[in-house]
């Protein structure tokens, strides 16, 4: 069993190496080989999914775990340790699934240097799988950075006209952030060694998760409250002391360091500008994996490191984090509304939706966090599907401008079905997957801070607005295709032969996503059953919900000891 996980993680890499060594393969051979590799990987991940034990008494223990010493550091070692808990299991399976539509979306469109193209996709898959399965911070970080390389080449070699600029921006921007994250990670390890009872040096994520929030960080523990604010405070040295004290509190500082890399990766407003550029230039396969899985890496990092290891910092920064998430939701949605390029629109919708996921994590409630994790899966499915749909008509018309396309329902009815379903799922219509994620997220945030909850809910309205506008322009209305002699009437009839109907590979790529969009919307229980216990481990350190004079005490109160700001001595000197 332990070997199974390792094999699943590295199988795509082997496939990718073979593809790199076989540049003479025709695109047909290459795509078939890549498809076979990804399908086998997917089947293996299904075994993991089925073999994962639900309802164990120790949800904090990763399953299928394997561990070997890798690099010796002093009397300890950086381990090669892989394993899955409920959270990573879902994202792991999502990654293996999304590789399939991304290969199918390149099926006809990539014919030159095809072997390398598929090789890069598979290499990226290994990076993502390894990242989600890592149980060691160093291993995690290596995979974290490794994912940049194949995507850099995917965008830079196979992208649109501005591909070089997009690839370099993407690479440098995310790298800059993740270096700060590295400092944060290293300091976590060091703090754990200095302040834990037995002073062990450990790089293990589960151990750090267990030890750090309970640790007495000594004087480092102090988190100053911000205090009230007013213009007169600007001239008060005492207030400035407080502000400095706040930002220099260790938990706040480490939170911000970790935050830097993950916030760019997610991306949160205002660190999102690389994303539209990268999406517009990336080939469809790159977009699917970038939006579908790579963005989740940031959110996953938030959950694994920020929320799990420095919860006091998160709690202290709640007003800041909530503001950023809400701004991102509204700003992303409004900017998406103003786009005319469908791919840019979907890219900005990702900014908005990732804001929702961040909001759920920052709500510091179990409800919101459960919702956020399932929403990571949901967003991967819907956005992956949306990008695949955009790819379908871009491949045929070579334009993504909404003003040039209209009434595609007529020409490509199956595309209309896919696009409408994915859009409705993305707009969080109940019965489809988006709802079971967004609703708990908003609920969690509302119970923590009603203002943020209400403002974020406005994002749901605008979210429906831009998606419906996109549908109205592209799918509805009289048929209009670029290249046709006149806008309507007999023009398209002559044009029809040149437009390829939806192929089997496009249907095969999208159908599983559509099935899951409906299935998760109706019966999300299997996912929640796996996610909830793992989230519970992290949520133990969250502060209790604000008391609102609860009328009926029917809810179960988590008995775990809770450390919160309120319990801490406020005026403890440094």
């Amino acid at each position: 069993m332990p070997m199974l996980l390792t094999i699943t993680v590295f199988l795509p890499l082997i496939g990718s190496l073979i593809l790199f060594l076989m540049p003479m393969w025709s695109y047909k051979t290459a795509r078939q080989f890549a498809l076979a590799t990804s399908l086998i990987t997917f089947v293996l991940s299904l075994f993991l999914l089925i073999g994962f034990q639900v309802g164990t008494t120790r949800p904090d223990l990763p399953q299928f775990s394997t561990s070997t010493d890798w690099l010796t550091v002093g009397n300890s070692a950086i381990k090669f340790a892989l394993g899955l808990d409920g959270i990573s299991l879902c994202l792991f399976a999502l990654s293996t699934l999304l590789v399939i539509p991304s290969i199918f979306s390149s099926w006809e469109s990539v014919k030159e240097r095809a072997a390398a193209h598929y090789g890069l996709i598979l290499a990226l898959e290994t990076g993502l799988l390894g990242l989600f399965a890592s149980l060691d911070v160093v291993l995690f970080y290596i995979f974290f950075e490794f994912t940049l390389i194949p995507l850099f080449f995917l965008i830079g070699l196979y992208g649109g006209p501005e591909r070089r600029r997009a690839a370099i921006t993407f690479f440098l921007y995310t790298l800059a952030g993740s270096l700060l994250t590295l400092i944060g990670v290293v300091s976590l390890v060091m703090i754990n060694q200095s302040y834990s009872a037995d002073h062990v040096l450990t790089f293990s994520i589960p151990e750090l998760t267990k030890s750090l929030p309970n640790l007495n960080w000594g004087d480092w523990h102090v988190v100053h409250t911000w205090g009230e604010w007013g213009p007169r405070h600007l001239f008060s040295a005492e207030w400035w002391d407080k502000v400095w004290g706040f930002w220099l509190s260790p938990q706040v500082m480490i939170f911000m360091l970790l935050f830097a890399g993950f916030a760019i990766k997610v991306p949160l407003f205002p660190f999102h500008t690389w994303l539209p550029l990268a999406h517009v230039e990336a080939p469809t396969a790159g977009s699917i994996l970038l939006a579908g899985v790579l963005l989740k890496v940031g959110a996953y990092g938030f959950l694994r490191f920020n929320m799990a290891m420095v919860p006091l910092g998160a709690q202290a920064l709640l007003p800041f984090l909530g503001t950023i998430a809400v701004l991102g939701i509204l700003y992303g949605a409004l900017t998406a509304l103003a786009q005319t390029d469908v791919k840019r629109l979907v890219a900005y919708s990702s900014v908005s939706h990732m804001g929702f996921i961040a909001l759920g994590l920052f709500s510091m409630t179990k409800t919101g966090t459960d919702g956020a994790v399932i929403q990571m899966v949901n967003h991967g499915l819907t956005t992956g599907a949306l990008f695949a749909c955009v790819g379908i008509f871009y491949e045929r018309y070579h334009t993504r401008e909404m003003s040039e396309l209209s009434g595609l329902w007529e020409r490509l009815p199956i595309l209309a079905f896919f696009l409408i379903l994915a859009s409705l799922g993305s707009a969080a219509v109940p019965g489809l997957n988006g709802f079971v994620g967004e609703f708990p997220i908003l609920l969690g945030m509302f119970s923590r801070n009603a203002t943020f909850g209400i403002l974020a809910a406005v994002g749901m309205v605008i979210g429906a607005y831009y998606l419906l506008i996109m549908l109205q322009r592209v799918i509805f209305g009289p048929l209009r295709e670029p290249g046709a002699q006149d806008g309507h009437g007999h023009g398209p009839a002559s044009h029809a032969e040149s437009i390829r109907p939806i192929g089997w590979h496009e249907i095969a790529g999208l159908t599983p996503l559509m099935a899951l969009i409906i299935l998760i919307g109706i019966y999300p229980k299997p996912l929640f059953d796996r996610i909830s216990p793992a989230v519970g481990i992290i949520a133990r350190h969250y502060p209790p919900e604000p008391d609102r004079g609860v009328a009926v005490k029917v809810a179960h109160v988590d008995p775990a000891p809770v450390k919160s700001l309120a319990n801490l001595p406020q005026d403890r000197a440094r």
């Binding site: 440098l172 921007y173 500008t273 409004l334 900017t335 509304l337 103003a338 786009q339 179990k366 919101g368 919702g371 009434g407 329902w409 007529e410 209309a416 409408i420 409705l424 219509v429 109940p430 019965g431 609703f439 708990p440 908003l442 609920l443 969690g444 509302f446 119970s447 809910a457 749901m460 309205v461 605008i462 429906a464 607005y465 419906l468 506008i469 549908l471 109205q472 799918i475 509805f476 209305g477 009289p478 048929l479 309507h488 009437g489 109706i522 019966y523 999300p524 229980k525 929640f528 059953d529 949520a539 919900e545 609102r548 004079g549 609860v550 009328a551 009926v552 005490k553 029917v554 809810a555």
Partner: protein, 697 residues
Amino acid sequence: MISLAVLVPLFPLLGALVAAIGGKWLKGLSHWPVIVGIGAAFFVSLLLYNSVDRLGDSRVVIFNWIDAGDLHVPFQFRIDGLTTMMLTMVTFVATLVAIFASGYMHGDPAYPRFFALVGLFVFSMTGLVLSNNYVLTYAFWEGVGVCSYLLVGFWHAKPAAAAAAKKAFLVNRVGDFGFAIAIFWMWTIFGHSLSYDDVLNERTLETIPHGTRLGIALLLFWAATAKSAQIPLYVWLPDAMEGPTPVSALIHAATMVTAGVYLIARSSLLFVTVPGAQATIAVVGCLTALLAALIALTQTDLKRVMAYSTVSQLGYMFMALGAGVGSVAKFAVVAAMFHLFTHAFFKALLFLASGSVMHAMGGVIDMRRFRGLRHRLPYTHLTFLCGGLALSGIPITAGFFSKDEILAALNMAAHEAPRVGIPGWIYGLVYWTALFTALLTAFYTGRAYFWTFWGPERLPGPDDPEATPSETQVQSSTVAHHVSTELPSADAQAAHGISEEPVAHADDHGHGDHDSHFGQESPPIMWVPLAILAGFALLAGLAFGPTGIFEKHLVRTPGFEEMGGHAVAHAFDWASVLLGSAAGVLGLGLAYLFYASPSPLPARIAANLGGLYRASLNKFYIDEFYDATVVRFTWLAAAISRAVDEYVVHNLVLSVAWLPRFVGRRVLGPLQNGLMQYYAAATALGVACLLLILLLF
């Protein structure tokens, strides 16, 4: 017995799935699975209705839907008086509409899709009234909205339909926003439970502060104003008439739009504790009823007249709900639900009859283009008349009884209101406005009826001044082609053209000719459902109202019997009855004078009332107002965001990236100038600095 409840939504859903998946093979027979499914659901609903009368209310959990942290949403159904009444009404009307539609939509290239969506809608609507917690209600609430979106946009190639569908969905989303916030709020204060049993519980409710209850009530009402088309969110409903007429009858008249009324009625235990919210509801309902009736007076599109009439009648239902203050509470809810019940029959009837007219007129629905159809369309004429009488509230028709109850409730509320701290004159004013609206209602109903069916006969032709230019070409070639029904523009039809040849189709309901039914009565498959509905429009009030059957059944809803403390004996309110009937007769009489035969009177009055007439004709410019404010504002915000993104945020990032290069090239680079003396000076300066530091510390 109780677990049968699952079957009510399940049957239509199965029908929809069969029609959707098997549509390719079923083609023109696709209506069968859906009609059978909905019919079976109606049958099961009757069983449930009966079981509630015998066994009382009950609950059934089907599975656990969402378990995220502390949010637990079971997929739970509840069977009580209110639910079964709605279920029976919905499935009954839906069955008839589906049968009608099998004739009306006959030959449409997307016939299977139509019936699949209708089945899906009935699934969502029955789920909505069955669900036992707010989240599940919200889910189906949006579910019916999605079905409405897809059905309004059914003729997807028609730009007006696409725009109307989007508008309907978005306006409803604005309402759903309020619903969601209400749910969040309830979740935090009702101990993380959202089931009706926990929230709508007198003991729990009295522990909640008044302000909180008021806030939740108003948010729920906000949601209801969108779904049930009240001020300020009614604007989507008239546009939704772009959908096929059976959809307008089923979704936008009889069932979905009453969901808001249902929601408030369901939550009435909460609402009666906040008289302020009740007064708001009554006033908003009253204003909506009046405004919509005024707009309906001048519309020339028969379906739009009916749409505004629906808005107006929904306003009546809200007036009745709002009358539920103090001891009137129970009576008011019964009155509102009774009007909902009777309205479903006569309004569905009027819409279907309008559809029948449209069918015969080759897709033309502009009343200026046809007249005097009573000889050509005898069944349509008679059934429309029945519906019109009921809508006008002429004695012994269904509308008469339900409208009378609403007026009586308002009258009682005017006396009761001061006891709970609401000025009685508010309800007095609402009462008189309601009476005046009844007069307007009868007048515009009479106008539509006499204009369409009386006077010298006239059929639409391509030379009508109102005809759209593109239509002129279609009319000559495919005037009576089934496919062309309601597809007035050549673009739309060409864009539609899946296949030009008529769908091969064994006709099983006796109207075989594809070539021409222009100007002819609809086939039996269409007028028989009309006749059944006409029977209900005439007699349902008499059968269920004075006999007390309706009320006795409805109060088998937990909490309804005791609502409002002591029960008041319902004295027959003779004054309201006489005034209400008089308004109806007077309105119809005036309409007869004006429109039964061509008369110069209407034009002269319109000319004299210039400004008011134009305002009514242009729907009081409400749409323009929203476009200029809310929509414009949103787009402005979007444009600003985009500009900020492209110019501010992007450039900030670029300048951060530019900083290292600047430091390297402009600051540090020039220092390496290769001059020996410069380096020596720098060294000396460095040594000096070091010495200084050593000396100082």
